[in-house]
Each structure stands twice: as structure tokens, then as C-alpha cells.
Subunit: 196 residues, 2 copies
DNA sequence: ATATTTTACTAACAAGCGTTAGTTTTGCAG
DNA sequence: CTGCAAAACTAACGCTTGTTAGTAAAATAT
């Protein structure tokens, strides 16, 4: 054999996914063409197919990478020794942190997962649903132990997850307020909103 | 003259915009083709151009309709005789109501405004920015009159607007919880979160 | 150094896109 | 009933899309 699937092969592929993430974020999945993507990488569109099977795969890589990342963190939070409300706060801060440090991937996943193709679309949706369920269970525990007020756990999760998503507006216009203050204010509103 | 621009002409155009809204919501702006849109209306793609100038115009109609709607309501709230926090609550409930009653238009506007073409894209962004500014001013007044805790007004607006956007997840899966309870829980979390 | 594999290239495909031109049908006004 | 405008049709345009085939260059292993 000539070269195992090591370093450079992988790094080239990762590079492609990385640039694709940026373009998908800027223009959206369907409005991004393989030719434009190739151009940004200094190559021809046809050459991309030496590294990936098709445009689909790029979106898959992004979305399922995120899903795996989220699930891994959820496991970690569930296994930590904390009160229920502390776990919820950890999740809130994690999601805020992801929006700040992995903005483009999160953004693309949130907006373009709809364009995944069918066996994987169902898989993705199921993972997302399961994640929200685990999140809701943690909120429910905090309600039952009277650490927070009586809200429907699903409504709380919905509110939290989407509030955090709003950081995308801040990313477009980050001058008014620092990332740290945004995080603190957002945690303040959401956690104080849940408390009694 | 044969027929003024009345009833039927307008209603046909509105019908087109209405179906386009549904398709844009389902598939996104770029993934929706004029041929598919026409098919859903029982006509040929070319016939659409007797009613609209192009695909762009459909997106414009949707986005600027929403912007006008929002601005009109903002004016109404500003002129109402209420405390600052009451105004904020009115806005929160208005946005929740819009997500529930005009879901598809709001969704498409939120996601696809990026694809507006240039003189109008700038116009839209400026309107959006101005709206957020007016919203933030109301929050700031509530902070200054000590009705709510000291948060950065922009962070609060960001949190509120995006939390409400999360109703799109509920729309996909409305069995777990009623619209009314969702609204009450969301208002509870957000308003209680703002209060001291 | 040679053999082998990986990666890039050029050229082209079939399909789909938004849109226009020209024509026929429909439907209301006089 | 006639005339005219609105709204549908067919056909086609130029262009872009994702992707494949075949080949040349580059990089690696022995």
C-alpha cells in the first residue's frame, strides 16, 4: 500500500469540511456550489470527489459531528456530582460556549439539518429528540426537588435552547456588548427565570 | 379598461405568495423551484410571471410584510399607557402570538432574509436593527425605573427574541404541551428572569 | 529508482434552474 | 356579439448545478 488513511488525507478532508462550513454559514447549503467551494480551496470542483463522496457528505459531517459532541457532553453532565439546577446551568453555559467557539458549525447544523437525506435525516431527528428528552429530564428533576419553579420541562428546554441560539444575532454585531457579559446576562435571565 | 387591479388579480397574487410561503418554509428559498411552486398552484411556471416579476419578489413580499407588521405593533405598544415592564410583556406575548398564528411567514423571514437582493437586503437589515433598538429602549426604561434587574438591554432583547423563535421546535412537535401553556411558561421564565 | 497510489486536472454529461417570447384561451365591458 | 385585456399555455433560451470518465502529475513505499 502507498499511504494509509493518515495525516494529510484526513487533514485535506477536514480542510474541505472546514471551508464548506464557512460557506454554508454564509450562503446556506443549497446556495453554496461545489465550484465555489473548490475555488475557495484553490482546486477544481471535480477534484473534491477524490476526498468526499458528494455534497451530502459535507453536511452530514457537520451535523453528526455536532450531534456526537452534544451527546458526549450530556453524558458528562449526567455523570457529574451536582444538584439538578447546577446541571441545568452547566448545560446552558455549554450551549452558550458552543455558540461562541463553534459558531459556524452550530449555525449550519441548526439551520440546514433539514437538507440531510433520508436515512440520515430520521437518524438526526431522533438523536435531537433524545437529547431534548435528556435535557428535559434534568429540568424535571430540578422541578421535583423544588429547586426551580413549576414549569413544563419541555417548555423550559425549548426556551433555553432557542434563547442561546440567538447569539447568532450578536455574532453579526458584537460591538455593543462583550461575549462574557452576554453570557452572564443570558444565564442570569434564564436561570433566574427558572428559579422560584 | 377591462379589469382594474382588484379582487381576482390580487387574490391570485396573494394565493401565489401564500403557497410560496409554505414551500419556502418546507424546503427553504433556494431549494424551492418556480416549477414546483407552479405545480402546487395547478399552473405552468411561465404563467407565474403574469403576476409577479420574479422569484425575488416572493421573498420580498414575505419579509417586508412581516417588517411592516412588526413596526406597526411596536408603535402601538409605545403609545399605550403602560408601565415599562408591561410594555415588554406585551412585546413578548406579541412575538409568541406571531409564532403561533403566522408561523410560516415568521419562520421564512427569520431564516431566509439573507437571500434578499441588495438594495432591499440593506433596507431590511436597517429596519430590523431599528426595531431591536426600540425594543431595547423599552427594556432600558424598565431597568432605569428599577422594575427589572440590571441587565444589558441588548442582551435581554436578544434572549427574548430568540427564545420566542424556539417555538418553531414546538410547531414540529405540538403534542407534548398546549400552545397556551407554552406561552404562559415562556412568559413566566422570561419575565421572571428579568424581574429582581 | 521503480512501482504504486493518491490527488489533481480537463472535458463533458444530464438535469435543473429562473426567465423570456410568442401564442392561445378565458372572461369581463361596451 | 364584439373587442380587449388578463392569464393561461408551449417552447425554448442561456446558465448553473452536482457529478462522472479518463488522464496527467505528485507523492510515497519498497
Amino acid at each position: 500500500m502507498a499511504k494509509a488513511v493518515t495525516e494529510k488525507t484526513i487533514s485535506r478532508k477536514k480542510q474541505i469540511v472546514s471551508v464548506a462550513t464557512r460557506l454554508f454559514h454564509e450562503k446556506g447549503y443549497h446556495a453554496t456550489s461545489m465550484r465555489h467551494l473548490a475555488e475557495q480551496l484553490g482546486m477544481e470542483a471535480a477534484s473534491l470527489y477524490n476526498h468526499i463522496s458528494g455534497k451530502d457528505e459535507l453536511l452530514q459531517q457537520i451535523c453528526f459531528d455536532m450531534a456526537t459532541h452534544y451527546n458526549a457532553h450530556m453524558e458528562q453532565v449526567e455523570n457529574a456530582s451536582s444538584t439538578a439546577i447546577e446541571r441545568v446551568e452547566k448545560l446552558v453555559r455549554f450551549h452558550i460556549g458552543m455558540m461562541l467557539s463553534h459558531f459556524e458549525e452550530v449555525y449550519v447544523t441548526n439551520r440546514d439539518w433539514k437538507h440531510l437525506k433520508e436515512p440520515l435525516l430520521a437518524n438526526f431527528l431522533q438523536q435531537r429528540k433524545a437529547y431534548e428528552k435528556r435535557f428535559a429530564t434534568l429540568v424535571e428533576k430540578a422541578v421535583l426537588s423544588r429547586e426551580i419553579q413549576a414549569v413544563h420541562p419541555h417548555a423550559a428546554v425549548l426556551t433555553i435552547l432557542s434563547a442561546v441560539r440567538g447569539i447568532e444575532f450578536w455574532q453579526r454585531n458584537p460591538r455593543n456588548i462583550s461575549a462574557e457579559q452576554l453570557e452572564e446576562d443570558m444565564v442570569k435571565i434564564l436561570l433566574n427565570g427558572l428559579r422560584k
